[in-house]
Amino acid sequence: MSAKSDDAKFELTLKRYKQERDWFKMLLDTVELLPGEENRLQEKLLHILLASKESVLDCAEHGKPFVAGYFCNAPQIFHAMDLTWYMLMETPFLAASAPFLLEDLEGAEAIGLGTDTCTAIRLPIYYIETGQMPIPTACIGLIYPCDGAPMLHQVMMHNKGWKDVPVYAADPPYTTDDRALDYFADELKRMVEFLEKHTKQTIDMKKLKEVCEEDNKVFGLWQEYNELRRAKPCPHGWGIGGAQAFAISQCFVSGDKKCTEWFQQLVKCAEENVKAGKGPEGIKEKIRYLWFDILPYGWVFEVMPWMEEEWGAVLTMDMFGNYPYTLIDTSTEDTIFRSLAKRNLIDAPMIRQARGTDENFATDIRRIVKDYDIDVVIWPGHMGHKDGAASIGIMRETCRELNVPFLHIGLDLFDRRYTTPEQVKDRISTFFSSMGLG
């Protein structure tokens, strides 16, 4: 293999990542021109996101250690170890509106990844298999909450280009009892040993304690923010709230002062709206809905604003915004790891619903509907969420008990071709009309 060919291969591993960065830069340029406090929050988030991307690129290009991981791999630990990291599923989760997404989905199908596995799983596999994913110093895999996640990492380990990347995955028990928490806390401790071994970065327990304490401030603020969203009208709509709170606190700057400051600004912004009796700009709230999943990032701009404008339907709560976190007990090293185990095995969105038995589908709906005075529950029915699909009866019956309408659509949150935005709008309009909503 010539040096030139090696260089080309290396460049390819960063190509999409750089394109994503540029995509976000373009979004930032646009947001900077827009007025309003909500856009200042978006602006700050984009700056933080871009700094994270630049840091990953800097590490990759200069041979510094960096890690691939996930939002539910206790990112507080990465932060306490001063580790730069990125999420293997970053493209579907964060950059699904980028212009190359459909091209890559077709590429995934062409190499034999089928069409019925979750798009968020197929895309990273495609990038790995075609040499378009930054190759980290070490990888912290995620093997829950669904069947697709362990397969993503097994394909990754099978890939010849990644054969030298050491991988660790915390093994998830299925229960949510003390036995499970003790087991998972030990798995997280082993994750730290693994990271220390392969990145040569060491953990400073004093710093981890500080990070967790800062993180507790964030989650206190998040709880405060969620309380504010109970107001009528809801102070914010789909455009700001859970998705951004999740991204900043779990994907970019966990337990960092920048994160706390962002949340303080978020709370302030919501408070002002509540005091003024205001909702999302220019929207008269008629329907309060729970979107019980990730937002449809692949075509989010085509449906979510339309729901507000056409129907006065305000996203009052969503799966990723509803984060019933418990705070981290920082008394001892053991209590920290046990709290992190709970956070990452039981509390984290999507993990919370999908990993274990499905009581959280019912209890979360029940609690959110009551707390937020929800008029309609929308289960988008993402094609990758097979366990959720098999919980549909439980969700429907829960809503029936609560006397709140339940809509199941059936779509791909990332791929607009599965159910087109127009079809989604049609389903929503038909349902709202027949239920007498709005």
């Binding site: 034999g112 990844l113 089928g114 019925d116 596995t117 979750c118 799983i121 596999i125 895999g141 093997i143 829950y144 669904c146 069947d147 697709g148 362990p150 397969m151 993503l152 990492h153 097994q154 394909v155 380990m157 099978h158 995955a169 093994d171 998830p172 028990p173 299925y174 229960t175 036995r179 087991y183 030990d186 798995e187 999908a354 274990g356 038995t357 499905d358 009581e359 029915g381 094609m383 097979k386 366990d387 699909a389 098999a390 919980s391 549909i392 009866g393 439980i394 429907r396 019956e397 199941h408 059936g410």
Partner: protein, 381 residues
Amino acid sequence: METNLKSKVMDEFQEITSTLINPYLKEWKDNGGKIIGYFCTHVPDELITAAGMLPFRMRATGSTGTELSDAYFITINCSFPRHLFNLAMHGEFKILDGLIVPNSCDHVRRIYDNWIRQVDSPAFVRMWNLTKQTTEHAVEWYRDEILLKKSDLEENFGVKITLDDLRNAIKIHNETRRLLRQLYDLRKADNPPITGEQALAAVVASTAIPRERYNKMLRELLEELKSAEGIKDYKFRLMIAGGILDDPEYMNIIEDHGGLVVTDYLCFGTRLFLVDIDEEGDPIEAIARYQVQQRPTCPRTYGDQPRRAQFMRDLIRDFRVDGVIGERLLFCDSWLMEHYMAKQDLKELGVPFIQLDREYVLGGKGQLRTRIQAFLEMIGG
């Protein structure tokens, strides 16, 4: 594919496999015995045998529709739980005294959640809680799980499960494994005495009748096969790999076109019996180690793909396989990706591979035939 085998035992195995609730289950029940249903290969049926009960591997044999279960499992769910839950809602599993559901996959694990809400019987329905790796910690977790479920069975059914009971159950189940390996060894011959269709029926039957009775029948079959005429009219030796496949007719369609299925990597197949459970030492530890580290795993076990690939390579070599069919139930993420990797591995080995998606209840037979024909033509060059 035609065989000249005349065997009452094989006829009976085929009858058991084509029926959901067979006469042996009814007889067991009439004699006051208890039956525990379980899913997949992750639940240690030895524990149920040790409790003096009959372990019955759950299937949806005979299902023709999903009209009741459609409200609980939708079209992006695997058709196996959809059909099975439909039968459950029709009361077809009333014979069961208990049910154990492992978190083996996203589809099967939700049977537990829906069953406890929608189906009245049996009252004893439990999850078998699995982790996903092959570490010592995972062995320890599984060991604790056995202890917890042992107490649960004892408390709920008024039985006592001693270590000797467990050792004895392991011996009985290992005997099944040894006999099935003997049966499969016969298929290594140039002219195997049984078809893939018959072999599948023999394996499925092992999970549906009292185990000691089954072992006796299988010994009789092995005796009969000593003098059986081998199959000659086939062109290629095939292997089938995949998840739950309990319908011998699927094999029949493949074998109708000149490919003889000589081995498999299936959960109603070699994954049940390639390895024995250690009969020395602590039986609970032995079962846990067998389940987590020793037996051939399915793709849900993270990090074990290289060992699975090795099992497959060994089978391909030992049974002199010409081509591999990767069967997959639609919407199964695990087997889609496992076959994706197998295809690459087998290409390096020079072994043709095809992936065939299917529904649990056999349909689209014409399409299946066409794809098999094309695959066999490809093998034939």
